[in-house]
Amino acid sequence: MAKKKYDYLIIGNSAGGIGCIEGIRREDRKGTIAIVSDEKYHTYSRPLITHLLEGDVDRKGMDFRPRNFYRKHQADPYLGFRAQNLDVKKRSVSLVGINGNSGNRETLRFDQLLIATGGKPFIPPMDGLDLDGITPMITLDQSVAVKKRLGRVRNALVLGAGLIGTKTAEALSHVVERVTMVELADRILSPVTDHVSSALASDAFRGNGVEILLNTTITEIRGDDRGRVAEVVLREGTVLPCELLVLAIGVRPRTDLMEGTGIGITSTKIGGGVDVNVDMETSIDGIYACGDCAHAHDFVTGGMKLLPLWPNAYVGGRIAGLNMAGSPHIHKWATNMNSVDFFGLPMVSAGFMLKPKGKGFLEIVREEKGSYAKVILKKDVIVGLIMAGNVARAGLYLGLMRNKIKTTTFSQHLLADDFGAVHMPDEVKEKLKQPITVIE
């Protein structure tokens, strides 16, 4: 059995892994790099799998980086290999070939390691889950598999109306006759909206023929005599026909590889994430983690938490890579921040969605037909942002949030059409003119 050794080993070929390669190569042109994924594909843009399903992005459009990326960055790709038996003392991991690589085995040793294993779908136990036509929607293979069976789908049902569920329902609405979203909460997109922006999104879905059922869930799944999903029963007894059931309840950190290795993992109510410092290093020297499998600093709350967002994964990976290659950086760039477009309705949000209880919080709201904007302030510093319908210059607010700029002298202009640098204090304005040279 071959035992290769790499200066840098990366497990995960998505945003975090690619960010890590780019971070390392900014500092170190020579060190050897290997990148491992159980998926057999060239790095692809995971959030675009619903666009692939819908057909407005083709397979080539899924490439997250050009096809010469690994060669150009001198990184050895091990694609279609599952990593297991991570040994943090021997600093080695074994790879088992899957997805057409069956039978291939390797053991790789490493000096430094990035764990960017991402998330896995959370699927509650239910009868009937083994029926044909039931799937999560987090991989390219799942998107392609759904696309293949669309011919026999008249009714599609999406369980869960978070970001994955809503983007899936939007895509399906273009290719399936009837689409229904079922959501346990009292509104769709609850982690990234308040009630007003959620209602705007709901209007967009309903206006495009997607049915939304709130405050309910599926209690039973029934199949036909050929073992295919045929209908579901909701909590209150309603029976809905469906030939496709997409499970999009949530994603949990994928930490199987780390369990029992000594790498610190903190359990939370939505699953355990790998503990890291703000430099992205885990409890073991030279072993880093980022993205959906790990915690990250939230610049609004100041704590470490799961922030399973593509930009957070990329920047976390990039900063891990810079640190691994000897250039000290910290990652305090992220918060709960999202941007999305449904049927032509743009929506962005960051930080708190609802005004927290407690003293010192203030909400400023601007509501017009088809558009909505809100900022939440704490002692004049922006800690929450929602914009829907018109998202122009949203980044100005995010910058003020991240840099904790007091808006005391200009808060009356905050949501005006002409709000901009000209209203801000001179030192903030001067900084806006200069290119960003440090990730902060």
Partner: protein, 146 residues
Amino acid sequence: MKRIYAKEEVCIGCRLCEIHCKVEHSRSKNIIKVFKEEVPPPSRIIVEEVGPSSFALQCRHCREPYCAYACIAGAIYQDEATGEIIHDPGKCIGCWTCVLTCTKGAIWPDLRGPRVAARCDLCPERDEPACVELCPNEALYVVEED
């Protein structure tokens, strides 16, 4: 690399730079047609004004480009040779993550369809960016810097 700066003391807030930016990035590049017959694209430069003070800004081509780091489609990247930030509209899906993460507020939704992000590209087809060349007060100028 090239970066455009503004002389605030001579900018009178006439916003002609915005007009010329729209024309340069329009389908016809004909100023009458753009505003009479077409849907004009968003201007990549913005002029803000309060009383006598004005402020003009477009993409800073940041050395640490948050927009590129945040792009979920791999549509924004830094040119290794020039340091310029390049946006590939063919790969852009109009998710507006760059609009949210550009803390300069210098990326704009282009809603003409296909819906994509729009930002200063330094007018690759011209010797000098349109806003710089056509500003009547020479309030915009190009600097070659790192």
